[in-house]
């Protein structure tokens, strides 16, 4: 059996808002991880994971040129930034929540994604 890991092991993420729509850009740390998240992160799975926070559709678009997925959550922000009771009015923390979703993935793949992140960080450490 493949071990379960958090999505954060494979991908960076950033979220934002337009009205009541939350969007999460999920950026794979390497090309291999991109293939995994493309397969594993499905609209059904994401909707279920958000436990009632997302009232509308979940749409996922792929950006093969950037190894990234654009995840669009409809009716997800309690009516939008100005009317919601959520403290995170604009859903800037939705990215962290998605990164905590668990997926099953080969240990080797996770190790290579971790190495990729280390390389990325060490490359820019000196800038």
């Amino acid at each position: 059996m493949k071990p379960k890991v958090y999505l954060k092991e494979l991908a960076f993420a950033r979220s934002g808002d337009k009205g009541d729509i939350s969007n999460i850009g999920l950026m794979a740390k390497n090309a291999e991880s991109y293939q995994v998240i493309k397969k594993e992160v499905t609209p059904e799975r994401v909707k279920k994971y958000f436990k009632g926070m997302v009232k509308g559709d979940v749409k996922i678009y792929s950006m093969d040129n950037l190894n990234a997925l654009e995840i669009v959550l409809h009716n997800a922000l309690g009516g939008g930034a100005t009317r919601t009771l959520r403290l995170d009015q604009t859903g800037k923390s939705m990215c962290g929540l998605l990164q905590r979703m668990e997926i099953e993935v080969d240990e080797d793949v996770v190790n290579r994604a971790r190495e990729a992140e280390e390389q990325i960080l060490s490359r820019y450490e000196s800038w």
């Binding site: 960076f12 969007n23 850009g25 093969d64 100005t82 009317r83 995170d88």
Partner: protein, 483 residues
């Protein structure tokens, strides 16, 4: 391979090595444009650094969030001379002495609900600075609140894009503001008229950049330039949120240096639609393929159809390349012609929010907080308070992620625990009752309650996002000259 030649203010050259080696071939036309503000209240010092050291021709300033126009419209209703973002006063006073010397043009949407009055303030400051002859472009006409009945009479429905609701009559009497995100047409017109600065109301955020890029490059909306305008839209999108493409809000935050004195983004745009994203040398922050990517995926829906009033950009066609430290080349952008409709944000009055906080200390901090939660629920029932929604969050536990956050182990001996209690109501009094009842917990609940900060009830302006046919919106450009 690319030759990177340090730019001078008037001519910046970057061209393919093979081409530049060909004798007699003219260098590619280019333009340096930067983002000086991402929101109302952004930092001013990075904009000053940009003006002084950026070798720029333009700086764009975005001050407007989705419903800022509704707030500004309310202010204008009380005082017809107000209703603009008054940051423009301090910004202009600080920047104009620098930009006027260097010939940098500023494009700002701080005009909000009242670009005319905002421009009058700019004229006043320019006069004080002795900048006689300076021209300030004014773009108005983005508000459609006055014409909505007319447009509806022609059969147009202002369907709510979030909810699918078609019956705008439900909110008709509560509308505070309705503004279309207009394109760059009038900004370009102002620049053609010789404007040294342009003040607008609601335009799409990236239009602040698309306008000057199109004007300088001589691009228009004809099919010949579709991909190039899409490139301008994409470049505008990348830089429009200032720090957000320069290591701000970044996953790489551990290696982002000195972002307390940040370098806001500069785009060096070329006539072939390519651009280099960079920042002032020595400033804080980070520009690399990841920080640019972070902004390319930010607040985008379908990335192959990024719909903007000036054009539709396809982010799935582009390529990012690091040319060196803090220099990222963006190329290969494709697009489609501008859409026939404009996005409109309608803001309408929608009740109130009441809020109260309370904190408990060790010992038994969590148990006390749980008891307090039950107290407030029982109290609301007992008093028969009418609430449309009630939300109770535990600080540090589920305030951001609600029910989707896992509950921590019951064995943790918390140092402290706080509750945030908030409710949406129809009236101000009902909202204030929530704040009041939380204060009653101070004396009637468990020991060690700390009061936190009192919150006044706040009026809610909700958003009704919709579309309008472009033809129904009639933006206007005019010029004020400093005499």
């Amino acid at each position: 391979m690319w030759n990177y030649i340090e730019p001078t203010r008037d001519s910046i050259r970057l061209k393919p090595r093979e081409e530049s080696d060909k004798k007699g071939e003219a260098a590619m036309k280019s333009l340096r444009i930067a983002s000086g503000s991402a929101f109302w209240g952004d930092m001013l010092d990075p904009a000053v650094e940009l003006a002084e050291k950026g070798n720029l021709k333009y700086i764009g300033f975005d001050h407007l969030a989705e419903l800022t126009l509704a707030i500004m419209q309310r202010i204008k209703t009380k005082d017809p001379k107000k209703g603009y973002i008054d940051d423009i006063v301090a910004w202009t006073r600080t920047l104009l002495p620098i930009t006027s010397k260097k010939g940098i043009k500023m494009i700002s949407n701080a005009g909000a609900a009242n670009p005319e009055s905002a421009a009058d303030e700019v004229v006043k400051i320019a006069k004080e600075l002795g900048l006689t002859g300076m021209k300030i472009g004014v773009v108005t006409g983005d508000s459609i609140a006055e014409h909505m009945d007319e447009i509806r009479a022609k059969g147009w429905k202002f369907k709510n894009l979030d909810t699918g609701e078609e019956d705008i009559d439900r909110i008709k009497d509560k509308i505070v503001a309705a503004n279309a995100y207009i394109g760059a047409d009038c900004i370009i017109e102002c620049l053609k008229e010789g404007a040294d600065m342009v003040v607008t109301g609601r335009v799409s955020d990236n239009t602040l950049y698309v306008g000057p890029i199109m004007y300088e490059m001589g691009w228009d909306y004809s099919s010949k330039y579709t991909d190039l305008v899409a490139a301008a839209v994409t470049i505008g999108h990348i830089i429009e949120c200032s720090m957000m493409c320069c290591g701000g809000g970044s996953n790489l935050w551990k290696v982002v240096k000195n972002s307390w004195r940040p370098g806001f983004p500069i785009a060096e745009v070329y006539e072939n639609g390519e651009a280099v994203i960079t920042k002032v040398e020595g400033s804080g922050g980070l520009v690399n393929e990841w920080t640019v990517k972070e902004h390319l995926v930010y607040e985008v829906h379908d990335p192959s159809n990024y719909l903007m009033p000036d054009g539709i950009a396809d982010f799935t066609s582009l390529k990012l390349e690091e040319l060196g430290k803090n220099k990222v080349k963006v190329s290969g952008i494709k697009g489609k012609p501008r859409p026939q409709t404009l996005k409109v944000c309608i803001g309408y009055s929608d009740g109130y929010i009441g809020e109260g906080h309370i904190f408990f200390s060790w010992p038994d901090a969590m148990a006390k907080a749980k008891r307090a939660e039950q107290w407030i629920r029982d109290r609301i029932k007992y008093l028969g308070l009418k609430l449309d929604e009630l939300r109770i969050d535990y600080f540090g536990i589920n305030m951001l992620h609600g029910k989707a956050a896992p509950w921590p182990s019951e064995d943790i001996d918390w140092n402290e625990m706080g509750l945030r209690i908030t409710a949406k109501t129809k009236t101000r009094d009902e909202a204030d009752a929530i704040r009041r009842e939380v204060t009653h917990l101070w004396t009637a609940g468990p020991v060690s309650a700390s009061f936190g900060v009192p919150f006044a009830p706040r009026p809610v302006v909700s958003l009704w996002p919709t579309l309008v046919p472009t033809d129904e919106v009639k933006p206007q450009a005019s010029i004020k000259e400093v005499k």
